[in-house]
């Protein structure tokens, strides 16, 4: 009898070892319904990921295309044209028609009206187009561009269903026997670290102010300054301590700058004088709001011996008396210090980011633009080696796996100081870029 006696643990362990309680049938119904919804959600997630991946590819493709110059076709081939090969002007008109139908009606037409000498350029294009291979290439380029333009306003809609599972609404209250003096909750915050690479096509422009003496030197001639497209990128590191806030830093490469046209007014009336002056280093003042350009290389500018339109003796190699403009480019290594707040805890992962960046100057170049070709001529003087900028952005993240995320963030950046140490130049660049990349969760 005593042998059969059991301690308290054994009483319960043996007594309940084969214990079975049949659950009500609606529990399985709820499990099944929940599993079906999960399947639908995973399908929706797959579609969303595919759309996001396609959007990323499209964005990169657009960025690359935006940064490429689309008007180089007639300019490049124009260098070796001899108009004597065309017998009559009527033949030239026929050729023009061919070009307009095969290449791009707007491009050629606008070029023709803008530059009278383009009539001459067309003849060379005609030869290329009549060759079958070139013709098909140009036709292809048309086919690709049209759908891209039409897709600009596409809106993708994805429906998500809210998971509804069986839960009792009845409040369950427990009454612990012993009161505790210790804190009632212990939050275990888990630190997560992410590292990723981003690529950022951006458009940068500027605000300018100050007593710009150099502008005054323009003597009433219009100086047209416009923004530039650039491509940046780098490595980002994000640390999250378990809350919705996270801290972000990294090392990024970024470019800002401007293009200045009509910056050589004093020479426009006398191309020969311009060439003579330009070939003498350090003696050229190019009017702009960023700063004086120190020329360290003579401008390769030729001038025409005859007026344009005189087809008889016109030499296209020498027919580029104007400089289309000057591009000033500043390159920075940027160390951002950003705070990020996640708007949602779950999908969709949308966050707001803001912060400041230290920008260290690593490149300062001025280019002369001649027929869409950039030629380095020097640098902008007085540029500070270090400036601070501020940034704000809205980020979207799409998980591509447990440890891999795709991120896309339109971001606006504004330099809070002038980049030039000379108070006459109050040049503060700003840029709008789309930061897209892949992030890895490393912890």
């Amino acid at each position: 009898m005593l042998k059969d006696r059991k301690d308290i643990d054994t009483v319960f362990k043996e007594g309940l070892s084969e214990h079975l309680v049949t659950p009500p049938s609606y529990v399985w119904d709820s499990v099944e319904a929940s599993l079906n919804k999960q399947k639908k959600q995973s399908r929706a997630l797959m579609i969303w990921r595919s759309v996001a991946a396609a959007a990323a590819v499209l964005l990169l493709w657009m960025s690359v295309n935006l940064l490429q110059d689309t008007t180089t076709l007639p300019i490049e081939v124009s260098q070796q044209v001899n108009l004597k090969s065309l017998s009559t002007l009527s033949e030239l008109d026929e050729v023009t028609d061919v070009v307009e139908t095969n290449v791009s009606e707007t491009t050629v037409a606008s070029k023709k009206s803008e530059f009278p000498e383009m009539r001459g350029l067309v003849s060379k294009v005609e030869r290329n187009i009549n060759a079958p291979s070139k013709k098909s290439e140009l036709a292809k380029s048309n086919v690709v561009l049209e759908p891209l333009a039409s897709k600009a306003n596409v809106i993708v809609e994805t429906k998500y269903e809210i998971k509804s599972t069986l839960h009792s609404n009845k409040k369950k209250v427990y009454y612990p026997l012993f009161a505790s003096n210790t804190p009632t909750s212990q939050k275990r915050k888990k630190t997560s670290i992410r590292i990723g690479g981003v690529l950022s096509p951006a458009y940068s422009s500027k605000t300018s102010s100050g007593n710009n003496m150099n502008m005054a030197r323009a003597n009433g001639v219009n100086v047209d300054e416009s923004g530039v497209n650039s491509l940046g990128g780098g490595i980002q590191l994000r640390v999250n301590r378990g809350s919705r806030w996270s801290f972000e830093t990294g090392v990024m490469y970024a470019q800002v700058g401007q293009e200045v046209t009509n910056s050589l007014p004093q020479y426009m009336s006398d191309p020969k004088a311009m060439v003579e002056s330009a070939n003498t280093p350090n003696q050229m003042q190019l009017t702009n709001s960023m700063g004086d350009i120190a020329i360290n290389k003579p401008l390769r500018v030729a001038y025409a011996t005859n007026r344009p339109g005189d087809f008889g003796e016109y030499d296209m190699n020498a027919a580029v008396p104007r400089s289309d403009g000057v591009k000033q480019s500043l390159e920075y290594l940027e160390i951002p210090m950003m705070a990020r707040y996640s708007l949602f805890k779950n999908f969709p992962y949308v966050s707001l980011a803001g912060g400041f960046s230290s920008n260290f100057l690593v490149g300062n170049t001025a280019y002369a633009i001649n027929d869409s070709q950039e030629e380095e001529i020097g640098k902008t003087e007085g540029i500070k080696p270090f400036v601070i900028s501020s940034s704000v952005g809205v980020g979207v993240e799409v998980p591509l796996g447990k440890l891999l995320h795709f991120s896309l963030e339109p971001r606006f950046k504004y330099f809070i100081n002038s980049v030039n140490s000379d108070s006459d130049y109050g040049f503060q660049p700003y840029s709008f870029g789309v930061y897209g990349g892949i992030t890895f969760v490393i912890k």
Partner: protein, 183 residues
């Protein structure tokens, strides 16, 4: 055994009929497990449902090493503990531990039905109930309980000792009631 493996493989491929078979095979045992931890039947049903959703969501991670029932049981128990943490975090907070560990010498020779034993466990205060279930019925060590429930080993030990004291009193009371009923 091979049949079970075939069902698991079908389940891993997402076959709904296989999922139902798995549920039918193990839901009775797992519901009994949930009943031991939970305050009432409704809460146990919630835990069972949540547990099986996790089982099917993670079934691809089962590598056919060890018992499948043990794997399912572990998931269900973890789900119950998760519910504890969410709903009543104060239950898992360390409290003043017992200084001496009791040596269990008492022996009982009465037989209780499963439902009687279950009701005795269900009457335990939640924090004692969880430790007693994990230690005695699931076979966890105090270190494992401490890690799983997020409490210290000392708290686990003292809660187990208090659970035993509580149950001994209950068992003795029930024994007296049974004897009185016979007389």
């Amino acid at each position: 055994m091979n049949k079970l493996n075939d069902i698991i493989i079908a389940c891993q491929k997402g076959k709904a009929s296989a999922q139902k078979q798995i549920y039918e095979m193990f839901s009775g045992k797992m519901f009994a497990v949930c009943m031991r931890y939970c305050k009432d039947r409704t809460e146990a049903e919630d835990c069972l449902q949540e547990g099986f959703i996790k089982v099917f969501g993670n079934i691809n991670k089962f590598r056919f090493k060890g018992s499948f029932e043990g794997w399912v049981r572990r998931i269900v128990v973890n789900t119950v503990i998760e519910v504890y943490r969410k709903k009543q975090p104060e239950l898992l907070v360390d409290e003043f531990p017992l200084l001496t560990e009791e040596v269990d010498e008492e022996r009982y020779d009465v037989a209780f039905s499963e439902s009687e034993l279950l009701s005795m466990i269900q009457e335990l205060p939640p924090k004692y109930k969880m430790v007693f279930n994990l230690y005695v019925l699931e076979g966890y060590s105090h270190a494992e309980i401490a890690e799983t429930a997020g409490i210290s080993i000392g708290t686990s030990k003292s809660n187990l000792a208090r659970a035993r004291q509580w149950l001994k009193k209950t068992v003795e009371t029930r024994m007296i009631e049974k004897k009185q009923a016979v007389c």
